[in-house]
Subunit: 160 residues, 2 copies
DNA sequence: TCGAGATAGATGCAAATGCATGTATCCTGA
DNA sequence: TCAGGATACATGCATTTGCATCTATCTCGA
């Protein structure tokens, strides 16, 4: 068996790359389909939750709409309206960015933090329930590393 | 450094599991955002393409709607109408399943095969362009393995 | 300083989506 | 055999999404 045959440290072929993406994508679909049906997301859609979560992971002041948009699979206009809905529910505030009159700063309200924590706890439990037993700790760490590097590479080398 | 600290073959914590999912999901978002903007998907949306692709990967006769639905992140009704659109475009045919009067068999037309091949070629090139250089062959194979096992586990242990 | 182009976000509108439900068919146990 | 429930898919309808475009603001070079 050659290095190539066992998938050694060679430059991957187009086919190998496409297969890896396909596999990653299908795994995401399978997991996401199940996560979406979690009762935790009856109160708030998973995309709305994702925005709240992203806001918890960033400096206190909040995020610009375009920064938020990097984390979510939505068109700019769709995110704009999603945030508008969150504002109407009292979960986030929007204010004009102090240093750039065009920008909008989105920040969590107290209710937003509380809602994220509440849904987040159930969500994390559900993730563990679904994925538990699929991979051991080393494999899971490996997966985290590989996907993180994949993301970093794409963000770094292929701006939108 | 203990085995746990370096992520050895232990039973993963809830936190480690959630981190891995988060990382996988963000990588998927980053890659998908870029794939979606490929001009190859101006003619046909990526979800529509995905259905055509899935149909190429299965026995000649086609797939039932509910089987298709396992591969796609869409509600049953949305897929039903997506397939209806594909039929109107002449890319698939729908016929009643011979062994089950409730079912619908979806199959590619000749134009459907041709369209999938054409878009697929461009799509695979784009995948290689985006991911090329991110991971070497061994890492890519590892990623394929891990995500495939993740999917298999979820499909096996957590039916919808 | 000014004007052309770039950028951030909002909005009108058509298309796509999901939920709830409807219809037809299939299955199962009494 | 047949009634009750389950399953497969379709459909009405309100919501969400994306595209194209608009406005407001910023940036930069002449």
């Amino acid at each position: 068996m050659t290095a190539t045959e066992r998938g050694g440290a060679h430059v991957p072929s187009v086919r190998e790359t496409a297969e890896a993406w396909e596999s990653l994508f299908r795994a995401q679909v399978a997991v996401m389909r199940r996560l979406q049906s979690d009762p935790a997301f009856r109160e708030l859609g998973i995309k709305e939750y994702d925005v709240l979560f992203t806001l918890t992971q960033c400096p206190e002041g909040g995020l610009r709409l375009n920064e938020l948009n990097d984390h979510v699979l939505l068109a700019q206009s769709s995110l704009s309206r999603l945030v508008e809905r969150l504002e109407r529910k009292g979960l986030v505030t929007r204010r004009s960015a102090p240093d750039d009159g065009r920008g909008t700063l989105i920040a969590l309200t107290e209710a937003g933090w509380e809602t994220q924590r509440r849904i987040g706890r159930a969500h994390v439990r559900e993730i563990a329930r679904l994925l538990g037993g699929a991979l051991d700790g080393g494999e899971l760490a490996e997966l985290t590393q590989l996907t993180a590097r994949l993301r970093d590479h794409v963000v770094e080398h292929h701006p939108l």
